[in-house]
Symmetry: C2
């Protein structure tokens, strides 16, 4: 079969335990024998078996990723690849492997996570989203299993390690920007309010309006989730209000694309008839026509820091929960203009 620690031991004429120590680079082994053992490993093409190690060790050197359960939709969003890129960069630095868990429903996802952690496949978990009242999060808390969250948990967020943007501020920033361009009738396509991100941004939106003494109008808020149909119904509702909005804040660039297409079809022109500002700054946003004004939330670093926090937690257990805020920045392009 494959070459084991014993084969190496035999060749180097030492005990298996010594080989193990060499692997762990234990300082109490003389350089001499270390070298002898290393040569033996080399010449035999030895590679440690992670399973055996995990078993003896109770540690796996790998972390699990939990996607939102509606993978099919969500996976089309370049947000996830980018956040995973951030995570895996950090993981790689520390020699951790990455496990993915998916599921078609919340129940399936939960089962996947249960298997992952009870089965001893991972040392910790990153939740790639944050939604209200998430079962997986509660489960992880109950089990006292190390995890970090991208986004802000709804409850007791101080007790949960997470990394997020300052979304209240971000919501305020875009609104302020639009107000400063002279807009007063600003609609907001925020999608389902299950997501804490959206809740926070709306808060910032309201704050900005308030500061500018513009009254908040419920009818300007679109809570529907849509993507494929471009939200035709909702958009045309907005545009046929007595006083239709002159600007639109959209929760996500991808959604903006689809909305822009709808608006185009309806015969309006962007940004002349309607300014649009959204969030995420996907690579594509630059190539949209017109190029999209959007908030860059630094997705890569969201992932990178989430991994960082988690690994830290795994290596030094029993720490306080940590919070990291990743700075955002408004990227003004051509979908927004003064009124």
């Amino acid at each position: 079969m494959s070459v084991t620690i014993k084969d190496v031991a035999k060749l180097a004429k030492v005990a298996p335990s010594t080989v193990s120590r060499v692997i762990a680079n234990n300082p109490r082994i003389s350089e001499q024998t270390k070298n002898r053992v290393r040569e033996a490993m080399e010449s035999l093409g030895y590679h440690p078996n992670y399973n055996a190690r995990s078993l003896a060790n109770r540690s796996t050197q790998s972390i699990g990723l939990v996607m939102p359960s509606s993978v099919d939709k969500v996976f089309q969003n370049p947000f996830f690849p980018e956040v995973i890129r951030g995570i895996s960069t950090k993981a790689h630095e520390e020699d951790f492997a990455i496990y993915m868990s998916t599921g078609q429903s919340e129940q399936e996802s939960l089962e996947g996570v249960e298997r992952m952690i009870h089965g001893g496949r991972v040392d910790g978990v990153i939740i790639l989203y944050s939604s209200i009242d998430d079962k997986i999060m509660s489960f992880l808390q109950k089990e006292k299993f190390p995890f970090s969250v991208i986004g802000k948990p709804y409850n007791n967020f101080k007790q949960i390690t997470h990394v997020d943007n300052d979304n209240v501020q971000a919501g305020k920033d875009v609104t302020d920007y639009l107000i400063q361009l002279g807009h007063k009738r600003i609609a907001y396509v925020c999608g389902s309010l299950d997501s804490v991100v959206s809740i926070d941004r709306i808060l910032g939106y309201k704050k900005a309006l308030q500061n500018a003494e513009i009254t908040y109008q419920e009818e300007y808020i679109v809570k529907e989730e849509f993507l494929h149909d471009g939200g035709e119904k909702e958009i045309s509702r907005l545009m046929s209000l007595q006083s239709p909005p002159t600007a639109l804040i959209v929760k996500d660039d991808l959604l903006s694309f689809s909305i822009m297409s709808t608006i185009d079809n309806m015969g309006y022109s962007i940004p002349k008839d309607l300014s649009i500002v959204s969030f995420n700054n996907l690579m594509l946003s630059e190539f949209a026509r017109p190029p999209l004004t959007t908030v860059d939330i630094d997705i890569f670093n969201l992932g990178y820091h989430a991994a960082d926090c988690l690994l830290d937690q795994i290596k030094n257990p029993g720490q306080e929960a940590k919070q990291v805020i990743v700075p955002h920045r408004l990227v003004v392009r051509q979908t927004s203009q003064p009124i």
Copy 2:
């Protein structure tokens, strides 16, 4: 510590081996004891430890994914999420977990794969790309480790399990389509010819030209890899030829977006001045303006079948290499028109 097979055994008043058999659903155990054991598992919240099982078993119930090494660029392409979605759907059906391996360079990727397979983390590997002379593929072949490839391996492709579109046909189809619209000067942005996919499509392109008795012109072929700058240099070279192309075939929708943006900036209009047809049919392509004419290569099924082949190979070793062709289909939208 966590609850093991022994605890269950004790509670159910049977031997550990019996519990093990119940888990494997061994038919030689009476329904009675099975039930007793299952109750015990339930009440203790037992979950099998995968590491121990793998160790005893020499099988991990997980598969590894190998991305192209230039993850940073490639990951922004929705191709990968979608193909992974296909893979993980199949994997999930068969209760396999998914490992990801990434790396900044080919060397790093290779090391990652080596660790994955020598360390016994995975039972098989899917290579999510196919490029000429790939070290990872050679390595896997040398080790006789089960793997499948998405795309077509350059050498001995009959001996390697892979799933691909009929790219020669696809290349021919788009070219035929354009010719049938009356185009004769058809340029092709194919990117680096390291990728077998591109090589095949070009073959089809040439074939179509030949059939229509149009001479192949080297100057119409753009082999540069670009994305961020929208290929300004190359595009303007094309457009300032004595006889500039009237149609453009582009290897990937994402690239099309960026090219369309460039062309727009140069003052040309699509499809009036230039028709564009590309490949992949990303979700976004529908929302582009104008909506993109493109070949749907059924990315999801590329992934799904790659996983299917691999799992089959893992479960019944020593099989012949298998080839699967996933059908493609031209989706005509608005970036192409008769000349």
